[in-house]
Amino acid sequence: MITIKNLDFSYKNAAVFKNISLDFKEGNVYGLLGENGVGKTTLLKLICGLQQANAGSCTVDEFIPSERNPYFLQNIFYLPEEVITDDTTPELFVKKLGVFYPRYDQQYFRDLMQELEVDAAKKFSTLSYGQKKKALLACALSLRTDYLLLDEPTNGLDIPSKALFRKVILQHSVSTNHANQHLSSSCQNNTGDTQDAWSDNPTIIISTHQVKDVENLIDPIVILDHDEVLLNATFEEISSKLYFDYGTEKSDDALYSEMMPGGYINVLPNKFEMESKVNVEALFNAVRNNKKRIKEIFNN
């Protein structure tokens, strides 16, 4: 569990976060959304200990990331959007990295490279941007840390690679073997609280503005804005609070409307408890345009 409480952070005089609080629960694949420059990368850096809060706290399980305890560091991996690699191959790169991560799995790395269709023995300098990105993803996953932070991981991937990305992340996110029992017991009491069921799975945070690439992959969704958290909700919560109407008309009550092929999508407060399919892009715009309203809707 990652807990951020009343956290302030600024770069010199530029405030990034003012008094933000949010939790990331174990075993979920979080989508971290926000416009450019709202601090998605900064938040990831705070979580893995590369930055330190000015005030308030950030804790990961019992650790304070900025203290950089080795037991903490061996269990979390942050993959930045751009990585500067030496003149080396993915194979050698992950071998060096793996020394610091006790659960590093070389066979898993090889399997991932094969699945992602990248040659592990080729130098990074000879790989295309997308191939390098995929190779680094394979490195990151094969370390098998409990926490994995991915910054814009789908940027620069071609269409087939994006599908492969979703597949390996899904496989990775459900990869523990003994969690099925948790699953059955949580289904039996039928509380609808699925969070506990996945506590043995890794916690993955994917920051992105390429919403379409990860739409069905992520749950819950966190939307950041300049110095505040606009939303931190599961799909189930979102679809119970908001109604996504796909119709031929623009609705006057809509928090957000957009023309799309075949009509309009309207995002409305879900007054009649109707079920609809969450459209993350429309959600994002609805949240962005109605910051106060959304907070009221979700806090009730």
Binding site: R166, K167, L170, V174, L183, C187, W198
Partner: protein, 118 residues
């Protein structure tokens, strides 16, 4: 699995499994895919698949055997058919009746069509 644009994904997965039971891909007592396997198979977050399975379970279409997995219940087919029939009568039939009236199609003609079909 190709998802429709407007229906919640968890409902689409629910209906997909119902369909597999109806067309005999899953028979009474069969163990169905685990939530994990299904998540990978259809490419969606396991939380979503979990909701589908909870719905299937709450309608007694699948039963949970502790630590073993989910199996198709004895009455699964009847339950699904009953539900889909109810939905057809309430939602689709009125639309069809409206069209039959609009085009002036008689009961006799429908009967002829039915005989021709089978």
């Amino acid at each position: 699995m190709e998802f429709k644009a407007h229906q919640p994904i968890y409902l689409q997965i629910y209906l997909h499994i119902c369909e597999m039971i109806l067309n005999g891909k899953y028979k009474i007592g069969d163990k169905i895919m685990s939530v994990r396997e299904m998540a990978i198979e259809v490419g969606v977050n396991p939380n979503t698949v979990m909701r589908s399975y909870e719905l299937l379970q709450s309608k007694d279409i699948i039963i949970n055997k502790r630590g073993i997995g989910f199996n198709v219940s004895e009455n699964a087919k009847e339950i699904i058919l009953e539900e889909q029939k109810k939905q057809f009568i309430e939602e689709e039939l009125p639309e069809i009746i409206k069209k039959l009236k609009m085009f002036g199609i008689s009961i006799e003609e429908i009967e002829r069509q039915l005989k021709g079909e089978n």
